[in-house]
């Protein structure tokens, strides 16, 4: 390759990378600010000093006494884990029914279910709230967890798409061998759809972990059962003199499990995100 071409290619490559790095800096900057603030002493917080001078690692521990973080965390974990279990347990059979079983009206019901995805959440909360009041569930995590056991349109949709990629011959063969539907579902389809199921479980876990509106609505008046999202949000209300460094520390702690989870499950995640491109 002539040196001039090589040089030109190098310059273009450097240019491209510089651009990408510049953009990356823009995206990383908020993380840096938040993290550094989390490590500052409160006297240093709103001053112009960029680098935390003593690295106050104890901020992370102090954040736990500033607000009942342990309680918030355990509530969040309970909500996230239980709703994930509920979602997976309820949506797999439904998705299976939509994809591998044939019954009259299948298409229609599926379309109806899909259309519920387009409903703005505000439209259903008033009646839902009323129902939960009647049931006496307001002020607990039940309104958030129990409905998860009844299936959720997005998850069912995703799983159905995934199940449809499993060759029909396999399920047919199992049927011919005399297996019942439930057995086919658990022995044939589920093992093959593992990554799809994991993706869906991951989505639900993250959704519950980050959910603010749901817990606010149903547990807003009962601080004992608040999740991290609501608890952090209410910091500003309850403590008028905001200790930014501790608040940032708490935010970092709140975000950390998500980031860690993301790194471990990246492949699963991206696969799930591109799943809706699978032909249905």
């Amino acid at each position: 390759m002539p040196p001039s071409v090589r040089r030109r290619r190098l310059l273009i490559s450097v240019g491209n990378h510089s651009l990408a790095i510049a953009v990356a800096v823009v995206f990383i900057t908020p993380f840096v600010f938040i993290l550094f603030t989390a490590l500052m002493a409160s006297s240093q917080v709103l001053t112009g000093r960029f680098w935390p001078h003593p690295f106050e690692w104890r901020n992370f521990a102090d954040a736990f006494s500033y607000a009942p973080l342990w309680s918030y965390t355990s509530n969040t974990v309970v909500y996230a884990v239980l709703s994930t279990i509920g979602t997976v347990a309820s949506c797999i059979p439904v998705a299976y029914a939509f994809s591998r079983m044939h019954w009259r009206g299948r298409q229609v019901v599926f379309l109806i279910m899909l259309s519920t995805l387009m409903l703005p959440s505000q439209v259903t909360i008033v009646p839902l709230y009323t129902i939960f009041v009647r049931l006496g569930w307001i002020g607990s995590l039940k309104p958030l967890i129990v409905p998860a056991f009844f299936g959720d349109a997005f998850t069912i949709f995703l799983l159905r798409q995934f199940f449809l990629t499993i060759p029909e011959e396999l399920t047919d063969a199992a049927r011919v061998d005399g297996a019942g539907e439930f057995q086919i579902m658990t022995r044939v389809v589920m093992p093959l759809a593992k990554s799809g199921i994991m993706a869906v479980a991951l989505f639900q876990f993250l959704y519950a972990w980050n959910d603010f509106f749901g817990p606010l609505l149903y547990t807003g008046n009962n601080p004992k059962i608040w999740t991290l999202a609501v608890g952090l949000g209410e910091y500003t209300t309850l403590h008028r003199s905001v200790l930014w460094n501790l608040q940032m520390a708490a935010s970092v702690l709140f975000t950390l499990p998500v980031i860690v989870l993301f790194f471990f499950t990246q492949k699963v995640f991206i696969k799930g995100v591109t799943l809706t491109g699978v032909k249905g």
Binding site: S13, N16, H17, L19, A20, I21, V23, A24, F27, I28, P30, F31, F33, I34, T37, L46, G48, F50, M118, L119, P120, Q122, V123, T124, I125, V126, P127, Y129, T130, V133, L206, W209, N210, F212, F213, L217, G220, L228, A229, V230, L232, G233, E234, Y235, T236, T237, L238, W244, Q247, M248, S251, V252, F254, T255, V258, I259, F262, Q266, V273, T274
Partner: protein, 269 residues
């Protein structure tokens, strides 16, 4: 859903059974200044936030199409902010955009004006826009897929003809990704109409919703206040139903007009 419609015609405060009041809630809505303020704030977000975020997402995605190696790292970096819980991200930005905070400090060093961001009604929504830009990663990913899908022959033909980059963008790239733009537009609009959490947190929580003079009082927030702070559940139901209708109309309009400007590569129907 129909229950909500029913409730919208009642006065309901949870303590006593709903009382039928016909169109009272709707008439009240028309005269409610806070209602209109919330409409204005939300529409502002839809009109400014959605297109700007889409443009930013496309721009960032285009940056990602350039480097030959190491794209994965950049992509991960651009995407991670979307994983941050909304509450944490909003709190982070409220801090960053604090009048004595880092961003204003840097602006000061550069002798640029230092807005008061979330303490100033004129800058609170732009502050939320910035927060939105930070989280553009998920939209960017689908645009990246769309951009990579543009057939190579088109780009090669453009190279042969010696077409400049701007022309290339306008006549090849844009039409090819127009389905993705359409998707992002529709979902962005639907989501923006329901904007809640960021506005809630940036306002400073329950006691000061709407923050500087109601500049952050979005439709969803006012609905929440009416329904769950003042317990005018009938009114909240009415607002919810109106929201539903507005979203449906907007979506339909978008879909109808899409025939003119969306180009489907594989043919459509």
């Amino acid at each position: 859903m129909f229950a909500t419609l029913y409730f919208s015609f009642t006065k309901y405060d949870l303590l006593s059974p709903p009382r039928w009041v016909g169109l009272f809630n709707y008439r009240f809505m028309v005269h409610d200044p806070f209602f209109w303020q919330s409409v204005w704030n939300t529409v502002w977000l839809v009109v400014f936030g959605v297109p700007l975020q889409i443009i930013f997402a496309i721009a960032v995605a285009m940056v990602l199409t350039r480097p030959k190696r190491g794209v994965g790292i950049y992509r991960t970096i651009y995407f991670i902010p979307t994983m941050v819980p909304v509450v944490a991200a909003t709190l982070g930005f409220v801090f960053m955009l604090n009048p004595q905070g880092p961003i204003d400090h840097i602006l000061g060093l550069l002798h640029l004006p230092q807005p008061m961001w979330f303490d100033d009604p004129r800058f609170s929504k732009p502050g939320l826009l910035l927060l939105g830009f930070w989280g553009v990663g998920d939209t960017m990913i689908i645009f990246l897929a769309g951009l990579l899908d543009v057939p190579a022959q088109l780009h090669e033909a453009a190279d042969l003809e010696g077409i400049g980059p701007w022309q290339r963008f306008r006549h090849i790239t844009l039409p090819m990704i127009s389905p993705v733009i359409f998707f992002a537009l529709v979902t962005g609009v639907i989501d923006s109409f329901q904007y809640f959490t960021q506005g809630f947190i940036a306002s400073g929580g329950r006691m000061s919703l709407g923050d500087p003079q109601g500049s952050l009082r979005f439709y969803g927030i006012w609905l929440y206040q009416q329904g769950f702070q003042y317990f005018h559940l009938g009114y909240a139901a009415a607002m919810a139903w109106v929201l539903f209708l507005v979203i449906m109309v907007c979506t339909l309009v978008l879909i109808r007009t899409s025939n003119r400007w969306v180009y489907y590569q594989g043919g459509f129907r």
